[in-house]
C-alpha cells in the first residue's frame, strides 16, 4: 500500500449519492452512495451480479439513474451519455478493450479527439503528443505501431493513455489484470502510482483481493445492489472483505482432500509446435489434480488445445490409457475420454443463443440418439439431473445460456463435460471472472471428480488456486516445461514463481 498523505476527506471531488437503478424485474442498485477523492485508489468489490457494473455504468453515463444525485466538485451533474462523462473527466477502461486493431497507437490514443490545424488533421502534433504520453507512462512502444500487434497488457496501457488525453480526473478500471501476466500487472501498478502522482483517482474493480490489498487506499463492498461497507484499507482484512461480499464466512475455499491416485491415464510425450511450445512431456494419474502454471503467454493454453486436438502440433504424442490419440480432432479426443473446459466460455465454451439443454448435451448427442434421431426424453432427463446436482440457478433448462450469470454459465460448460464421464478433464482458468461463492462450488466439484478417479489438469494464472487445488504443479515458461513440483506444506509461492520464470533445468519430484 502506498502512502498518500493528501488523500483526505476534503479532497472528495466525485460523489454519487443514494443512487437507485431498477431494471425490469431486478433492482440493480438500491440507495447506493460512493465517493472518490483526488489521487486515491478506491477499490470496488462484490460478487458477480452484486451491482458493480451497474454502478460503473451510472458513473460513466452509460445508464441513467432512476434516482439519486451525482456531484463533481460539489456541483450536481447529469450525464446524457458516456461522451459527456468523459468530457467531465470520468474515463473507464473496460474488460473488453476498445482498441481499433487496424489503426496505429497514435490514432487509438486520440480516437475522436484528433489534434486539428483548422479543418485539417495535425499529424505532426498527433505523433508528438503520442510520444509524450507513451514516455509519461514509461511505455516502450512506437506511436506508429499497429494497435492490433500489441499484447493485451500494452493495449490496456493505450486505453489508460487515452484517458490521459482526455484530461481524465478519474479512471475506472474494470478487472484490469484478468488478462495480464505478473510482469504486466507490476507495470500496471507502477502506472497507477504515476496516475496518483498526477492527482488522477482510480476506481479499481477486481476479484483479486491480494491486488486490492496491495494497491488500494480504500475499499467499498457492494452486495445485492446495496452498499455494505467502505473502509480504509488499513482498517480491514481480506477475510473481512470476502465475508462482506458474500454475507457469510467461507472457510477454506479449496478443501483439498488427499486422494488415492491410481494408474497413469494421460501421457504427453515431447509435444512440439514450432514457435509455440517445445518438448512438452508430462503424465497425469487417475484421481490426480495437476496444476499448470505459467505467465500469461507462456503457452499453457496452446499446449492444452494441442493435446485436446483443437489445434494441430508438429511432433510428439498424446497417449490416453495406453492408446495413442489422433491429433487435431476434438471428436476423437472426446471419444477417448478427454474433456476441455476452455479459457473463454463465451467465445469457445457456449452457444449463447441456444438453451441450456442444447449447450449441455451437444457432445453427448451421439449417445442420446439412435440412428441419428435424438431420444428427447433421455436428453431432458439427463440435463435436469445435472442442473440439479450442480445447482445451476435457472427457472428451466430451456433458458438461453446468454441469460445466466458468469458462474452459472461456467457450470453449464463443466456439466457438459461431466455428462461425458471423462477420464481426463482439462480446465483452463476455471474461475476467471467468477464470484467467490461459485468459485468455492466449482472447487468442490473438481475435488469430487478427482475422488471419483478422474484425472484433472488445471491451467491457472492464480498461484493460490494452483497450490490450493493441485497435487503437483507443472510450470511452463516460453513454451518449455521448466519444472514439476509436488505440492506439499513446504512448497512456497516463491518456489513456483521462480520455477515459472524459467532458465531453470527440469526438476522432477
Amino acid at each position: 500500500m502506498t502512502e498518500n498523505v493528501s488523500v483526505t476527506r476534503e479532497n472528495t471531488f466525485f460523489r454519487l449519492e443514494d443512487i437507485t437503478k431498477t431494471f425490469p424485474g431486478v433492482k440493480a442498485l438500491s440507495v447506493v452512495s460512493f465517493d472518490l477523492r483526488v489521487g486515491e485508489v478506491h477499490a470496488l468489490c462484490g460478487e458477480n451480479g452484486a451491482g458493480k457494473s451497474t454502478l460503473i455504468k451510472v458513473m460513466t453515463g452509460a445508464h441513467k439513474k432512476d434516482s439519486g444525485s451525482i456531484f463533481i466538485d460539489n456541483e450536481k451533474v447529469e450525464f446524457a451519455n458516456t461522451h459527456q462523462a468523459i468530457e467531465m473527466g470520468i474515463s473507464c477502461v473496460y474488460q473488453e478493450l476498445s482498441i481499433v486493431p487496424l489503426l496505429d497507437v497514435a490514432r487509438n490514443l486520440f480516437i475522436g479527439n484528433l489534434p486539428m490545424k483548422g479543418k485539417v488533421i495535425d499529424y505532426k502534433k498527433l505523433y508528438a503528443d503520442t510520444a509524450d504520453i507513451l514516455k509519461k507512462l514509461g511505455l516502450n512502444i512506437s506511436p506508429h505501431e499497429k494497435a492490433g500487434d500489441l499484447s493485451v497488457g500494452q493495449q490496456q496501457m493505450i486505453e489508460i493513455g487515452r484517458a490521459l488525453t482526455r484530461k481524465a480526473r478519474c479512471i475506472i478500471m474494470d478487472e484490469p489484470t484478468s488478462s495480464l501476466s505478473e510482469r504486466e500487472t507490476d507495470t500496471l501498478f507502477e502506472i497507477i502510482e504515476i496516475l496518483k502522482a498526477q492527482k488522477i483517482a482510480v476506481v479499481y474493480i477486481s476479484h483479486k483481493l491480494d491486488e486490492v490489498m496491495h494497491i488500494a487506499d480504500r475499499v467499498t463492498v457492494i452486495r445485492d445492489g446495496q452498499h455494505i461497507i467502505t473502509k480504509d484499507i488499513c482498517d480491514i482484512t481480506e477475510v473481512q472483505i470476502i465475508s462482506n461480499m458474500i454475507g457469510r464466512d467461507l472457510g477454506n475455499m479449496y478443501c483439498k482432500e488427499p486422494v488415492n491416485q491410481k494408474d497413469t491415464v494421460l501421457e504427453v510425450k515431447n509435444l512440439t509446435k514450432d514457435g509455440v511450445f517445445k518438448d512438452i512431456s508430462f503424465e497425469v494419474r487417475a484421481g490426480e489434480i495437476l496444476g499448470f502454471f505459467g505467465l500469461v503467454g507462456a503457452g499453457r493454453s496452446e499446449i492444452m488445445r494441442a493435446v485436446f486436438g483443437a489445434d494441430k502440433y508438429d511432433s510428439g504424442q498424446v497417449i490416453i490409457n495406453g492408446k495413442a490419440l489422433k491429433p487435431g480432432s476434438p471428436a476423437a479426443s472426446i471419444a477417448s475420454g478427454l474433456g476441455f473446459v476452455t479459457e473463454d466460455r463465451k467465445q469457445e465454451g457456449l452457444m449463447l443463443e441456444l438453451s441450456i439443454l442444447a449447450n449441455m448435451t451437444l457432445p453427448k448427442l451421439k449417445d442420446l440418439s439412435s440412428g441419428g434421431i435424438i431420444r428427447r426424453k433421455a436428453q431432458r432427463e439427463i440435463t435436469q439431473k445435472y442442473v440439479d446436482s450442480i445447482r445451476i440457478k435457472t427457472p428451466s433448462m430451456n433458458q438461453l445460456a446468454v441469460n445466466l450469470s458468469g458462474g452459472n454459465q461456467q457450470k453449464i460448460v463443466i456439466a457438459k463435460w461431466l455428462m461425458m464421464n471423462p477420464k481426463v478433464l482439462i480446465v483452463d482458468e476455471p474461475t476467471r471472472g467468477i464470484d467467490v461463492g461459485s468459485k468455492a462450488e466449482i472447487y468442490a466439484l473438481m475435488n469430487e471428480l478427482a475422488k471419483g478417479g478422474v484425472a484433472i489438469i488445471v491451467v491457472s494464472s492464480e498461484i493460490e488456486e494452483v497450490m490450493g487445488l493441485g497435487d503437483s504443479v507443472v510450470t511452463i515458461f516460453e513454451g518449455r516445461k521448466t519444472a514439476r513440483l509436488k505440492v506439499t506444506d513446504t512448497l512456497t509461492r516463491e518456489d513456483i514463481l521462480a520455477a515459472s520464470i524459467g532458465g531453470v533445468t527440469v526438476k522432477c519430484s
Partner: protein, 322 residues
C-alpha cells in the same frame, strides 16, 4: 507469434498484382491487339468510369458496410438521366440525377443506421426495388437514347474526347475524385473517424464519434459516385439500357477487395481502390481482346472472385484460432 513484415507486405498488396502482371505479360505476348494505343486508351477510360464506382464502394467498406445496390443505382440514375435530359436538357438533368444518387445512398445509410437493418439485406432490398423501377421505366427491355449535346458535341463523342492526347473526361473526373477523396480520408476529421467506425464501432461510440452519421455519409458518397458513373456510362453508349447495371456490383467488389480494402471494415484507401480497379479492368480488357466467349467470361469472373476471396482470407489477421 512473430510476423515476417516483408512477407506480409508482399502478401497484402503485391501478390495479386504480380499475378496479374504475369497474366498481362502472357496476354501481351499472345495478342498484339492488347497493347495498341487505342486499346490502352479504352482501358484508361474504363478504369476511370468503373473506378469512380469503386471509390464509392470503398467508403462503404471502410465503415464496415456493404452495398449491393450499386449496379441498379447506376441503371436507375442512367435511365433517369436520359429521360430528364430529353425533357429539360442535360445540365439541369445532371444536377437532379446527382441529387438522386446522393439520396439513394442516403436512403441506404438510413436503412442501415436508423432502421438497424443489416446492410446485406437492406441494400439487397433497395436493389430489388430499384430493379423494379428500372424495368418499369424501360418498359421491361430496350434502351432509351439521349438527345442532347455537351460542349457542342454528342455525348459519345464527348466521352471519347482526347484531352492532351491521353486524357479523357472519365479519366479526368476519376482523377479529381480519387485525389479529392484521398485527401478527405487522410486529413479531415470525418475521414479519419470513418476508420474507427469500421474498425471498432463501440470504441468510436465511447469516444463520441457519431458512427451513424459517418456511415450515412459513406453510403451517400457511394450513391453520388454511382450517379457520376451512370453519367459516364450513358455518355459512352449514348443511351441507357435496362441492363446497364448488370454485373457492376461484382466488378466493383472484386476491384476493391483485390486492391486490399477489407470487407470487415477499418482498412482501405484510395490508392488500394485504384490498384484494384486497374487490375480488374486489365483482366476484363484482356479477356475481350483474347476473344473469350461471354459464358467463358462469366466462368472466369466467378473464378477470379473466388481467388480474390481466398487471398483476402489468407492475408487477414486470424481473429480466433478456430
Amino acid at each position: 507469434m512473430k510476423n515476417n513484415k516483408a512477407l506480409n507486405f508482399l502478401k497484402e498488396h503485391n501478390a495479386v498484382v504480380i499475378m496479374i502482371l504475369v497474366f498481362v505479360a502472357a496476354v501481351i505476348i499472345a495478342s498484339p491487339k492488347f497493347t495498341k494505343l487505342t486499346n490502352l486508351f479504352n482501358l484508361a477510360m474504363s478504369i476511370g468510369t468503373y473506378g469512380i464506382l469503386a471509390i464509392g464502394l470503398t467508403f462503404v467498406f471502410i465503415v464496415g458496410g456493404i452495398d449491393l445496390s450499386i449496379g441498379y443505382q447506376v441503371a436507375f440514375c442512367g435511365t433517369m438521366l436520359v429521360i430528364l435530359t430529353n425533357a429539360i436538357g442535360l445540365a439541369p438533368a445532371l444536377i437532379i440525377v446527382l441529387s438522386i444518387g446522393l439520396s439513394i445512398g442516403y436512403l441506404n445509410g438510413t436503412i442501415v443506421t436508423r432502421l438497424k437493418i443489416p446492410p446485406l439485406i437492406g441494400t439487397l432490398a433497395v436493389m430489388t426495388a430499384l430493379n423494379g423501377l428500372v424495368l418499369l421505366l424501360n418498359n421491361n427491355s430496350g434502351n432509351l437514347s439521349i438527345k442532347d449535346t455537351i460542349f457542342g458535341m454528342s455525348l459519345p463523342e464527348f466521352y471519347r474526347l482526347h484531352i492532351f492526347g491521353f486524357l479523357s473526361p472519365s479519366i479526368v473526373i476519376a482523377l479529381v475524385l480519387f485525389v479529392g477523396f484521398a485527401l478527405f480520408l487522410k486529413y479531415t476529421r470525418p475521414g479519419a473517424d470513418m476508420y474507427v467506425t469500421g474498425g471498432n464501432r463501440e470504441a468510436g461510440a465511447f469516444s463520441g464519434i457519431n458512427n451513424g452519421r459517418l456511415t450515412r455519409i459513406a453510403y451517400s458518397i457511394c450513391g453520388l459516385c454511382s450517379a457520376v458513373c451512370s453519367f459516364l456510362l450513358v455518355s459512352s453508349l449514348g443511351a441507357s439500357t435496362y441492363n446497364m447495371g448488370d454485373g457492376l456490383d461484382i466488378t466493383a467488389i472484386c476491384a476493391v477487395v483485390i486492391g486490399g480494402v477489407k470487407m470487415q471494415g477499418g482498412k482501405g484507401n484510395m490508392a488500394m481502390c485504384f490498384m484494384g480497379v486497374v487490375t480488374i479492368q486489365v483482366i476484363n480488357n484482356a479477356m475481350i481482346k483474347i476473344g473469350l466467349h461471354s459464358s467463358m467470361q462469366s466462368l472466369i469472373t466467378g473464378i477470379v472472385v473466388i481467388l480474390v476471396l481466398v487471398l483476402d482470407k489468407l492475408t487477414s489477421k486470424k481473429a480466433v484460432n478456430a
